[in-house]
């Protein structure tokens, strides 16, 4: 015992620094992220959990502990909350599925030899750097009932002005157009980057064997992109479930999401409770339920995508 312990205690400062460098420095390097996460991620989450169990309104100075009352109000009494989850999921589905498919096709096209390749790639990315507020304002005008471009175009064929805001599906389509316009290029670029690392010789071999372009796409490109597709689905799920600015701007900055909440997302309900009603407790509870729902949706999507492509 003692003999094994002795050499350790006799370690020189140099040795100690060396040991620390090998064992400790990785932790130091990752520490900044975790410190920042603790302050801006973990602490707010725990505080929100605390707030979600309080009867806490800006309308009065005192607050009190009420257990899970806020959660049960949201889940069982407040209809708009349930509908908002339905709306969010609906918009996610009609926005994300076409978006990722189109992104894949665009990436495939950009991966071919094109004139002005760099320009096309830049253009695809351009929507991402525009302000989401600006996008919202412009699209709200495009989908306007009286002075909107879409209705103006349909009017050429004798279609009466459509109130895109009043129907559930019509408002979702309008909002999905905003989301897709903004994020399609982002996903296309990720796919493009992944496509460029697929070894050329796979395609050459396939071409020699007489595989057509579409066979190459489905049998080589898609399977090779699997990890990246999973990544984009995951990111889109999280983003889609937190959809907020687009529907808010579509509804002229109102948080009620249409006259009966046709396009009110869960994030909008959350912020509505905070801003319109000053109810910190309910808003926090809504935040935690949303957190769980996002986890479930992202997990489910992961399973589906993994299963779909696992067969290939």
């Amino acid at each position: 015992m003692t003999t094994t312990a002795k050499p350790r205690s006799r370690m020189s400062l140099r040795d100690r620094i060396h040991v620390f460098d090998a064992k400790g420095s990785p932790y130091l390097l990752v520490a900044p992220f975790f410190l920042l996460f603790a302050v801006f991620g973990l602490f707010p989450m725990i505080f929100t959990l605390y707030a979600s169990m309080q009867d806490w309104s800006v309308r009065r100075p005192e607050r009190s502990f009420i257990g899970l009352d806020n959660y049960s109000f949201l889940l069982f009494e407040y209809d708009r909350f349930g509908w908002s989850i339905f709306n969010t999921l609906g918009m996610f589905v009609i926005a994300t599925i076409p978006q990722l498919i189109v992104a894949l096709m665009v990436a495939n096209a950009l991966n071919k030899r094109l004139r002005g390749q760099l320009m096309w790639r830049m253009l695809v990315l351009a929507p991402i750097v525009t302000s989401v507020m600006a996008v919202g304002i412009v699209f709200a005008r495009i989908w306007g009932q009286e002075y909107g471009m879409v209705n103006g175009f349909l009017g050429l064929f004798g279609v009466d002005n459509i109130n895109w805001h009043s129907g559930r599906l019509s408002s979702w389509v309008a909002i999905a157009s905003m989301v897709d316009w903004r994020w399609m290029g982002y996903n296309a670029l990720i796919y493009l980057a992944a496509m460029q690392v697929i070894p050329r010789n796979l395609y050459e071999a396939a071409a020699l064997d007489g595989a057509s372009a579409s066979q190459q796409f489905w049998k080589i490109t898609i399977p090779q992109l699997k990890p990246v597709i999973i990544f984009t689905v995951f990111i889109s799920s999280v983003g889609g479930m937190m959809l907020f600015v687009e529907p808010m701007m579509f509804g002229s900055g109102q948080l009620s999401g249409g006259t009966a909440g046709q396009f009110q997302t869960t994030s909008m309900v959350l912020v509505d409770m905070l801003r319109t009603h000053g109810n910190y407790g309910l808003s926090s509870a809504a935040g935690w339920i949303l957190f769980v729902v996002i986890g479930l949706v992202a997990g489910l999507n992961f399973l589906i995508i993994n299963r779909l492509q696992g067969d290939k």
């Binding site: 100075p61 009286e146 909107g148 002229s252 009620s256 006259t259």
Partner: protein
């Protein structure tokens, strides 16, 4: 070796937890606001407003008069409900400063005055003496539930109707404001004119939106009657009140004949329609006059006119300048608020944006003023007439959120979400929800 690593892990976790705690502890100390000074050593006062108070020139004038104070105006053009009020509430709840003087819409005053702890008591600085400058009700509304004087009223929402004389002429309706005021001296007369306008097939709606009408009728009926609107001070819904019944039934009737447009108030299309001729009549409390001029633009000069409203007397809105308790310069902030709301400055704001003075002296002076944009309409006289008997409205703490919920239903009536038969049920449900969310 494993022991060693696990120790490290725990130590790291403890360090993280400790620093998180330390940081949160720091943020809890933010109650004492740091006093802001600029490079010349002047005290910097932030005046935080919303929409347009017409203060640009006044702030410049004030800064020229002061040796040791510089006023910075922020928030001009922001939407009250979507941006301004939530930002102010969040800042005050978190213990940080939203500004040294805060603009506040009258409809949110009740919910603000519940929080006595948020506001300074200007009586401590000797401003009790201003009581005689105001009508009693306007003065009283500026006090917190504990009786502190939180601020001063800027304007009152005297009522009128803005109308498109060009569209009226096209529809074969009278265009003279006195003639119109006589024709729609009550809401039945208004409905008759609406019917005539609809029958004329002019390509525009008669009146802009259901919610603007609702606000107008609500204020009128409540002011002339028992003062009861959607909800009482204890948070009980009062949907059977004369004001609510009158407002909703009038809207249902006008909608039946197709006289109301689908222009959701404060939407992009609504503001654009002021210039495009989307509708012929808009509810115009005094503070809307300046906005209509902005939105309709120079091209429409002379198209818009201004007449007395049906039912004439009434009151919708008006604003306040409040001084929060956590300002480092309560004395200077109070002085600024008092100066901006003095009769002379109120008249200048009226000339700039149409906000009608709430002080007795200011109102008397403004009532002789005309507005060139509206064919030189005697806007001052018409508005002064509408608030001559100042019906004092009591806004309950939950008034604002409940009203907003009802407005969603009224817009839904127009876009086909609800049929006329479903409106009352929907109002009941949405109003109950809003009351529940308000925690009362």
């Amino acid at each position: 070796m494993r022991m060693f690593n696990r120790h490290r892990g725990k130590a790291a976790l403890a360090a993280v937890a400790a620093s998180a705690l330390a940081l949160s502890a720091c943020s809890g100390d933010g109650d004492d606001q740091e006093a802001a000074t600029n490079e010349d050593g002047k005290k910097v006062l932030t005046l935080r407003i919303f929409q347009d108070f017409g203060y640009e020139a006044l702030v410049a004038e004030y800064n020229d008069m002061q040796d040791d104070v510089e006023v910075v105006m922020e928030g001009q053009g922001t939407n009250f409900d979507a941006e301004h009020r939530p930002a102010v509430e969040t800042a005050l709840e978190a213990g940080t400063s939203p500004g040294d003087v805060i603009g506040m819409d009258e409809q949110a005053m009740a919910q603000m005055m519940v929080r006595s702890d948020w506001w300074a008591d200007l009586a401590e600085h000797g401003y009790d003496s201003r009581a005689s400058e105001y009508p009693d009700w306007k003065w009283e509304l500026g006090h917190t539930v504990d009786g502190g004087l939180a601020g001063f009223g800027t304007d009152v929402g005297g009522m009128g109707l803005c109308y498109r004389a060009d569209l009226f002429e096209e529809a074969g309706l009278p265009t003279d404001r006195a003639e119109l005021a006589a024709a729609w001296s009550d809401w039945d007369g208004f409905t008759d004119l609406a019917q005539q306008f609809v029958d004329s097939d002019v390509d525009a709606d008669f009146v802009d939106s259901p919610t603007q009408l609702q606000n107008m009728i609500l204020g009128q009926t409540a002011g002339q009657g028992d003062g009861q609107m959607y909800v009482d001070a204890d948070g009980n819904l009062t949907l059977e009140s004369a004001a609510v019944q009158n407002a909703v039934e009038t809207i249902l009737e006008l909608n039946e004949i197709g006289a109301i447009g689908q222009w959701a108030a404060w939407s992009e299309e609504w503001t654009a329609a002021h210039a495009e001729g989307g509708f012929a009549v808009a509810s115009c409390p005094s503070w809307m006059v300046g906005l209509v001029e902005d939105w309709a633009g120079e091209d429409n000069a002379g198209n818009w006119d201004f007449a007395a409203a049906p039912g004439v007397s009434g009151n919708w809105g008006g604003s306040w300048l409040l001084v929060p308790a956590n300002t480092p310069y309560p004395e200077e902030a109070a002085e600024l608020a008092a100066w901006l709301t003095a009769p002379e400055q109120q008249v200048k704001a009226f000339e700039a944006v149409g906000a009608f003075p709430s002080t007795l002296e200011g109102a008397a002076e403004a009532s002789s003023l005309t507005n060139p944009y509206f064919n030189d309409a005697p806007v001052g006289e018409i508005i002064a007439g509408s608030v001559a008997e100042f019906p004092a409205l009591e806004y309950a703490e939950l008034h604002h959120p409940v009203k907003q919920a009802v407005e969603g239903v009224l817009n839904g009536l127009l876009d086909g979400t609800y049929s006329s038969d479903e409106v009352w049920d929907a109002i009941q449900t949405e109003a109950e929800n809003a009351a529940a969310l308000g925690g009362m």
